[in-house]
Symmetry: C2
């Protein structure tokens, strides 16, 4: 799972094309109605190429998720010149928000379906355990940096990161599965939490 | 959906027996592998009785969810002699916890699968919208009572209830779909949040 499949080690961008096709098919059909054929409809190369390498949509989706996580791991810098507060606010703004762009809403819904596979399928469960751990650890590092820089109070970085990860997961779940996710109220609540409990100097 | 199906208006406890059978089959098989036949295996009456009234497992599951919500609405008292703090702590302790009893864990997993149906199926989406709204409004009432009684600070009951509902949903999602839900850290984080932001006199 951590290795890039041989199929993907090509100079012609087949990997990226298949990832894009999977993303678009997932947004269009969701998980339950997704088939390799429907991914093929978004793929600029031959669908038989996908069948040749994947026996099931789940194998393909697990590679898709692993690819997305690797991209995420590579693009989120461990250290940054941007302040901890701004980085935290950017993450929270991006994830706890009423879903405006239709494509983003479809993707959040599809991801909620994929995550729910983890209830019974160990392969998905392993992926989301790894995904959440990475996300939580990056948040904890960010908070630790903020404490070192004197902008955050001396909270427990691990506990605070676990709480924020849980709020974000909860908000994404509510956005994906209900018509009234209360994202603005939650974002306001998290803002108050950051102001009152995390920031050294409470902002007004 | 709000009406009790005629099928259930029986003096012989058929409704309760079917609800119990659905509950046990859901815990044993999860949503994806559930069939009416498998529910029938847990049903003390004839499986053909279920087929006679339900064309699909989803219709049965939606009745099951509606029944559970009605029970929940009837058993949660609007006003109570128990203090707001104790009631809130009991709810939080019950929902944000490492899953010890195996049956409880299976049910939380099955509920996460049912909720994920809301990503694409309006019937499930309507149910969970209604479910979450009821839960959030009860929490808001509890907080309002706590403020009136002078035990809680003058927070926004709606915003605080939205945040707590989101944390609980997130924790249940993480418990259902990962091996490392960090429930104890999250429970500690929520306890600190209640102590620092909600309680009038912060406890030590």
């Amino acid at each position: 799972m951590d290795e890039t499949p041989q199929f993907f080690e090509d100079p012609e961008g087949t990997q990226e094309a298949l990832i894009r096709a999977t993303y678009h098919a997932l947004c269009e059909h969701g998980y339950a109605d997704l088939t390799i054929q429907r991914i093929g409809n978004h793929f600029e190369k031959s669908t038989s190429l996908i069948y040749h390498h994947y026996d099931s949509k789940d194998e393909l989706l697990l590679d898709f998720l692993a690819y997305m996580l690797r991209e995420f791991e590579e693009t989120v810098p461990e250290e940054t010149s941007t302040g901890a507060v701004e980085r935290l606010e950017t993450i929270l703004d991006g994830m706890i928000a009423e879903m405006n762009p239709a494509g983003h809403a479809s993707f959040i819904r599809a991801m909620a379906e994929l995550r729910a596979q983890g209830a019974n399928d160990d392969r998905y469960r392993d992926h989301f355990t790894r995904h959440d751990r990475f996300f939580r650890e990056r948040l904890a590092e960010m908070i630790r940096t903020g404490i070192d820089d004197g902008v955050f109070r001396e909270v427990s970085p691990e506990r605070t990161a676990a709480l924020l990860t849980t709020v974000i997961t909860g908000s994404l779940t509510l956005q994906a599965t209900t018509d009234d996710p209360q994202a603005e109220a939650v974002r306001e609540g998290v803002r108050a939490l950051v102001d009152q409990s995390l920031l050294r100097e409470p902002s007004s």
